[in-house]
């Protein structure tokens, strides 16, 4: 086939041109074509290569979607894995006020109906369960973006979406839900409106719970569907770790219920109970008579509900501190449990007079008898054998004046003035727990040390951190610290059991188990200085043959006669539930009852407890 064939054919047919003519036309055509091509090429380079007006970039931007991939906040669990806090999906519903108007809704069957703004307001109010007025205010105005309702449930948002309102949009948000509400509420803590942790474990473990947000970049087509073949970039979020607490929500419930009941009975300001495991200082319950419901912290009237009072409130411990004094005196070899301590009707030292809570003449008491009936006179008599500096050192040894380091924000250290700053009276009152303040949790740890053979383990409430891959790590346990010898601890335990068996707190007995402990009644400092009302408490352990649990109950300003406002009944209630809950076998050994008297009063031993 020759190149002239076509022309030949053309010439032969109905287009008779000369060869020269054809070549010229060919040339012109070629040039024109080339010019067009060059123009196109230049334009192409102009548009694509140079992109001076940023078209390609604009187009890409229009297609590109950058989406934050929020990390899921970890859950907070109790020791058995029950959820105390979790994140749930909610929607923040917003309106574009400039677009508000009557809406024509097309039904699937082709018909259409018009809804007026008023209809819509009523519908929205019904769905969101808020007053019509609020909806009206949210819809009225010129703002392009105004929240109509925050934290709507998926169900609510689906109903709103079904109204087909073009001006209503929603953005999914994650919200915290606390299935147990008030139960342990202030321990778990809560979050603020902007996902900011505000209290409790939520705050103290925020870094672990939070996780790391990721992001995703992808292209979408005009109809909003993602373009599958376009390049995309994704950085996965790292979900927050779950935090497992040592708290047991059943024990927490028993404790909270028992304390709340007693507080109601005595019309007290508040009450709190601490339940510790003796062997490792793990906290099983931090119960207040009233705690915040983290689902709705704003409902709480009393702001001190926001953190557990056993951690944040420092109170004068009162006679429970005699346990510490007894341990110190025994350890220092100043006394034996059955040493004879003649007690006068009232004791005057350095011009300071000390009396007891009950009237008595001069009595021949054993040291155990002094503690069992909680006598200030005898305690001071024995305690003065320790120098003020020693008293201070022993208080420090047991951790008084220092924080326990529990993973709850806002822990109070209490107040322990240096011994050089003590006044004449204070140097003696610290022996029976006045003139010094500490948290109920600290008081509980003093008893934990005694029950644990003299080894104090600071309390901890975080059992484990479980990361998003399921790896479980236990936080470093608190370093156990020997405070007194095992013998001393055993001796103190016998004295504490005598408090219940023959001493001043028979109400604290736990049916089926040997229990021991110490009651306390301190005058509580009033808001305007001076003292008004009492702080009563009972701290104890059981079963005495092998103490496993500590229960510390504190009641602030209970109303009534000082002899009837004690906390020992609540102790018995909670301790009984705890022992049964954990299936501790009932005690089979005989309870210890040390003789309280000697000499002329020896006949009063066995069962005839006074006071």
């Amino acid at each position: 086939m020759s190149e002239t064939n076509d022309f030949d054919g053309a010439r032969d047919g109905y287009a008779p041109f000369t060869n020269e003519q054809v070549n010229r036309r060919e040339f012109i055509g070629l040039v024109l074509g080339l010019v067009a091509l060059v123009v196109l090429a230049v334009r192409l380079v102009w548009v694509q290569g140079m992109d001076l007006s940023g078209r390609a970039a604009n187009a890409e931007n229009a297609r590109l979607r950058r989406e934050a991939l929020p990390a899921l906040r970890g859950e907070i669990l109790d020791r058995n894995g029950s959820v105390l806090a979790r994140s749930i999906q909610r929607y923040d519903i917003a309106v574009d006020q400039t677009l508000v108007g009557d809406i024509t809704v097309r039904n699937p069957d082709g018909s259409s109906e018009t809804n007026t703004v008023l209809d819509t307001i009523r519908d929205l109010a019904d769905i969101l369960q808020i007053p019509d007025e609020d909806v009206k205010n949210a819809l009225d105005g010129d703002a392009n973006f105004e929240y109509l309702y925050r934290g709507a449930t998926p169900e609510q948002w689906n109903s709103v979406r079904d109204l087909q309102l073009g001006y209503v949009t929603a953005e999914p948000v994650s919200q915290r839900s606390y299935p147990n509400g008030q139960l342990g509420g202030s321990v778990v803590g809560f979050m603020g409106g902007d996902n900011e942790a505000l209290a409790g474990i939520e705050l103290s473990q925020d870094d672990l719970l939070r996780g790391e947000d990721g992001s995703r970049v992808f292209e979408i087509s005009a109809d909003g569907v993602r373009i599958p073949v376009a390049p995309h970039d994704e950085e996965s979020p790292v979900d927050g770790s779950n935090i497992q607490l040592t708290l047991d929500r059943d024990v927490q419930f028993y404790a909270q219920e028992a304390v709340a009941e007693r507080v109601q009975q005595l019309n007290a300001d508040w009450g709190t109970a601490v339940v510790l495991r003796v062997s490792d200082g793990k906290v099983l319950a931090l119960a207040d008579s009233s705690m915040v419901d983290p689902n709705d912290p704003g409902r709480t009237d009393d702001e001190s509900d926001y953190s557990p009072r056993s951690v944040s409130a420092a109170v004068e411990p009162g006679s429970t501190q005699k346990t510490l004094t007894a341990a110190a005196a025994l350890e220092e070899g100043k006394i034996e449990p059955l040493s004879e301590v003649p007690v006068p009707a009232e004791l005057t030292i350095d011009g300071q007079t000390f009396t007891d809570s009950f009237d008595h003449g001069a009595e021949d008491r054993t040291f155990a008898g002094v503690i069992a009936d909680s006598m200030n006179t005898g305690t001071v008599e024995v305690g003065r054998e320790l120098s003020p500096e020693q008293r201070y050192e022993w208080l420090r040894n047991f951790g008084v004046g220092a924080a326990t380091g529990i993973e709850i924000p806002g822990e109070s250290t209490g107040l322990l003035a240096d011994w050089t700053a003590w006044d004449t009276r204070q140097q003696y009152t610290v022996l029976f727990g006045q003139g010094v303040s500490q948290t109920p949790l600290r008081t509980a740890t003093i008893f934990q040390a005694i029950a644990n053979g003299g080894v104090l383990v600071e309390p901890r409430i975080v059992e484990a951190v479980i990361d998003s891959e399921g790896t479980r790590t236990a936080p470093d346990p608190a370093e156990p610290r020997r405070v007194v010898s095992e013998e001393t601890a055993a001796e103190v335990l016998e004295i504490l059991e005598s408090v219940v068996t023959v001493g001043g707190a028979p109400d604290a007995a736990v049916e089926g188990y040997r229990a021991g402990g110490k009651s306390g009644t301190a005058e509580s400092p009033g808001e305007r200085g001076g003292y008004d009302g009492y702080t009563t408490s009972f701290v104890g352990m059981a079963p005495m043959e092998d103490p496993q649990y500590i229960v510390a109950v504190t009641l602030q300003r209970p109303e009534g006669d000082v002899r009837t406002i004690g906390a020992s009944g609540v102790f018995s209630q909670i301790m009984g539930e705890v022992l049964r809950h954990y299936g501790v076998s009932p005690s089979t050994t005989e309870p210890v009852a040390l003789p309280k008297f000697f000499g002329k009063d020896a006949g009063r031993n066995e069962g005839t407890a006074s006071g």
Partner: protein, 273 residues
């Protein structure tokens, strides 16, 4: 076109061949099946073959690409659809979990148990398998007072169960007596009713038969105790709606009703009007 071209023969080899071909085809049409015709057809095929193959390949490629595209975007739509389904299922699961956990919260569990008339055991025995010993001296728990659970119910928005429970709690609170006079009145009514109860020679009333939930929605010692005397006749002092309910219950079982009346007054101030 073909015809015109055929009428205007050109001297070039192409033109000649074209004419020849047309001629041959006519011949072939005139004598189909001839060997010569087949040979020509073959040659013609071999000439067009590459073009046809190319076109077919292009069409096939385009078709495959089209199908692939359709599939991919189909998959994309399906993905979006499944995502939506996943989300709605997740939300449903979340709502159900919320309901479940609301029921599981200890204070709600305790409320439900006490609504069922359960009391907690105060003592228990232990069977020690290693020593074959039974320790402890368990006693049956005494019928308890109508214990109020003091730990409040959790506020759970978006849980239908929680909403119902909150409504019930409100109802219960509203039903509590407001004044001491009301308390005394209820106590007296309960005591009156109690004196009528046949204890069959014992000191503890027989176990109580639970009333249908419609009757217990507002705990009603005031309604129920009057039930038994109501049948006896004139002990009833006032006609309340709940009396009718109690009587309806009575119609269902005489004996059960008597037992119920016997047990209810244990909670004099527990509720009612």
């Amino acid at each position: 076109m073909t015809q015109r071209k055929a009428k205007a023969p050109s001297p070039g080899p192409q033109g000649r061949q074209g004419r020849l071909q047309r001629l041959r085809s006519r011949i072939r049409e005139a004598r189909p099946g001839a060997a010569a015709g087949r040979a020509i057809a073959r040659r013609r095929w071999s000439k067009f073959m590459p073009i046809v193959v190319a076109v077919m390949a292009i069409i096939a490629t385009l078709t495959v690409i089209l199908l692939l595209n359709v599939r991919i975007s189909d998959g994309q739509y399906r993905l979006v659809e499944l995502r939506a389904q996943e989300r709605s299922l997740a939300q449903e699961a979340e709502a159900l979990t919320q309901d479940l956990e609301f029921y599981q919260a200890p204070q709600n569990l305790a409320r439900a148990a006490s609504d069922e008339g359960m009391v907690s055991a105060t003592s228990e025995g232990v069977v020690d398998l290693t020593s074959d010993e039974v320790t402890g001296d368990p006693e049956p728990a005494a019928a308890g007072e109508d214990n109020d659970v003091l730990v409040d119910q959790p506020v759970q928005r978006g849980s239908a169960v929680a909403d119902r429970a909150a409504a019930l709690a409100r109802e219960r609170r509203d039903a509590l007596p407001e004044t001491q006079a009301q308390v005394d009145e209820q106590l007296r009514a309960a005591n009156d009713a109690e004196s009528e109860v046949d204890l069959h020679g014992g000191s503890i009333p027989a176990p109580q038969q639970r009333t249908p939930s419609s009757a217990t929605a507002t705990p009603s010692p005031s309604g129920v105790p009057t039930g038994a005397p109501a049948q006896d006749g004139d002990q009833v002092q006032d006609d309340r709606v709940q009396d009718d309910q109690a009587q309806d219950d009575q119609a269902q079982g005489d004996q059960a009703q008597g037992e119920q009346a016997a047990a209810e007054p244990a909670a004099p101030a527990g509720g009612g009007q």
